[in-house]
């Protein structure tokens, strides 16, 4: 109650004065608009609830089965690659490489699986609209784990332990339909991945302190991070895309990163992703969605393919971003500082935006860059830093 009174008092001061008074003399106080934008970046954690398209989402036995499958290399064709080979728990469930390395090298950076539950689109191109489809894809992709539905179903049927766990999770023995078994394995994997949620961060402590008007706790947030935050939600307009508690709007953008894979070969990004999505049997409009109402299929039903989608890639979450280097869809930028420099010196001629005017070079000084990096680093929990 005391906190509620303090918060109300702070808001009143804010409304009267138009600014939030800073406790640290160094940083500028936040404007009302910045203050509101900061509050919109939380609270954290932000529970996403169970996935209605996956009948075992949130089930403890499915989560445990999914964790076992995640580390099992027998899911790959030659028995050498597990999900955890590329999505390594000690590397924020990524691999630290510029581009993924499965059965062969792939064209894109391995995305972290942290906070992967409840997203609207999956993958750099958003070719999947649900987590179980996204989990199935690498198992079947020749370039990654290289398997097929028959091989996956045979594995489950031939291993008594896997068969028993399958039956316990799905309340029936593995059916004769290989594809159904493969999709169910992906649903158990998805149930596990939904539990991979990042810890609270210094930013979250600051954001919540602001929300409840706790000026003492708020003052513990470093001045440089606070200045970086003010830029992030203010002049930098970074929350246009990196908004919300996950620091992503779950959509796509062209941020001037080249999408040439090899001479004469380009990565079509979102344009290709929408085409794949619409033709997939595993999308939320397809036969494997466990929700007869298709309650979460609105985006799939209405997504529009536009010329501007060419070369657009998913806006990544920034939570635990200090642990997920290298950056961008092709892993071409090795450090956070260089990512900030990329936006600072943005080459507008590289944007293929059909006249859109969202991005502009930030033109940051060294000190501004330091502040923005300090803020970004504050989005990573000290407990999770290796």
């Amino acid at each position: 109650m005391k906190h509620a009174v303090l918060a109300a008092g702070s808001l009143l001061v804010l409304l009267l004065a138009g600014t939030v008074p800073a406790q640290d003399p160094a940083p500028e106080p936040f404007t009302v608009a910045q203050w509101r934008a900061i509050l919109a970046l939380g609270p954290w954690p932000n529970p996403t609830g169970v996935d209605p398209s996956n009948r075992v989402s949130g089930h403890p036995d499915a989560i445990a089965f999914g964790a076992t499958l995640f580390a099992d290399p027998r899911l790959s064709r030659d028995g050498t690659l597990a999900c955890a080979t590329c999505h390594q728990p000690e590397r924020a469930f990524a691999d630290g490489l510029p581009r993924g390395r499965g059965a062969t090298d792939v064209d894109r950076n391995t995305t972290s699986l942290l906070n992967v539950g409840g997203q609207r689109w999956y993958g750099w191109d958003g070719a999947a609209d649900n987590l179980w489809a996204m989990s199935l894809r690498p198992m079947l992709d020749e370039r990654e784990m290289g398997g097929n539905a028959q091989q996956l179903a045979s594995l489950v049927r031939s291993d008594p332990a896997l068969q028993a766990r399958y039956a316990a999770v799905f309340r029936q023995p593995p059916p004769a339909d290989d594809e159904r078994v493969a999709v169910d394995l992906a649903k158990a994997l998805a149930a596990y991945q939904e539990t991979l949620v990042t810890a609270r961060t210094p930013f979250d402590e600051f954001r919540d302190a602001l929300a409840r008007g706790d000026t003492v706790a708020a003052a513990r947030y470093p001045a440089a991070a606070r200045r970086g935050l003010a830029f992030f939600v203010g002049e930098g307009r970074c929350t246009m895309c990196h908004g919300g508690p996950r620091f992503s709007n779950d959509e796509f953008g062209d941020v001037g990163v080249p999408y040439f894979i090899a001479p004469g070969k380009v990565d079509a990004g979102r344009h290709g992703g929408i085409a794949q999505l619409k033709s997939s049997r595993y999308n939320l409009l397809g036969p494997f969605n466990d929700d007869a109402k298709r309650a979460t299929a609105t985006s799939t039903r209405h997504v529009a393919i536009e010329h501007r989608n060419y070369g657009e890639f998913k806006v990544p979450s920034l939570r635990d971003v200090a642990r997920t280097a290298p950056y961008m869809h092709n892993g071409s930028i090795p450090t956070l500082r260089e990512v900030v420099r990329h936006y600072s010196n943005l080459d507008e001629n590289r944007l293929h935006a059909d006249g859109e005017r969202i991005l502009k070079p930030l033109g940051l000084s060294k000190y501004d860059t330091d502040d923005l990096v300090a803020f970004l680093e504050s989005l990573t929990s000290p407990a999770s830093t290796p």
Binding site: D250, T298, H302
Partner: protein, 137 residues
């Protein structure tokens, strides 16, 4: 004015074919917004109000011709961010729920900021556009 005068006035108006005008969108219950130009009036409401960034929402709306304007033969709903020069990433679908009353589904504002919600009313070769500006957080 006494009772006899009122009844006489009602009789005269009825004889003249004057009907009591019903406000546009009377069938829509909720916090409506009204848009109009010389030929049409549109009353609309959203199922989430205010509309936030990042969530699908539904628009229920009524189209009311003014004067001698004909009812539109087709109706389209869309939205764009004029400052960014881009539209939505989703294509809404409009269905008729009653004569002159429609529902648009599938809209999503994927960024905070100013959005213009547009209603295109098509009659023959002409399209009348009415727009409503929303500030999205």
């Amino acid at each position: 004015m006494n009772w006899q005068h009122i009844m006489t006035l009602i009789g005269v108006l009825a004889a003249a074919g004057v009907e009591a005008a019903e406000p546009c969108g009377a069938a829509l219950t909720g916090d409506k917004r009204i848009l109009q130009n010389a030929r049409y009036q549109v009353a609309y409401l959203t199922d989430i109000n205010p509309v936030p960034a990042g969530r699908h929402f539904v628009v229920d709306f009524a189209v009311c011709p003014r004067g001698d304007a004909p009812p539109p033969s087709a109706v389209r709903v869309d939205a764009n961010m004029p400052e960014h020069r881009h539209g939505m990433n989703y294509r809404p679908v409009v269905t008729t729920t009653a004569p002159g009353v429609y529902r648009a589904e599938g809209l999503l504002f994927h960024m905070p900021g100013r959005w213009d919600l547009t209603f295109d009313l098509v009659t023959g070769n002409t399209t009348q556009r009415l727009a409503s500006t929303l500030r999205v957080e």
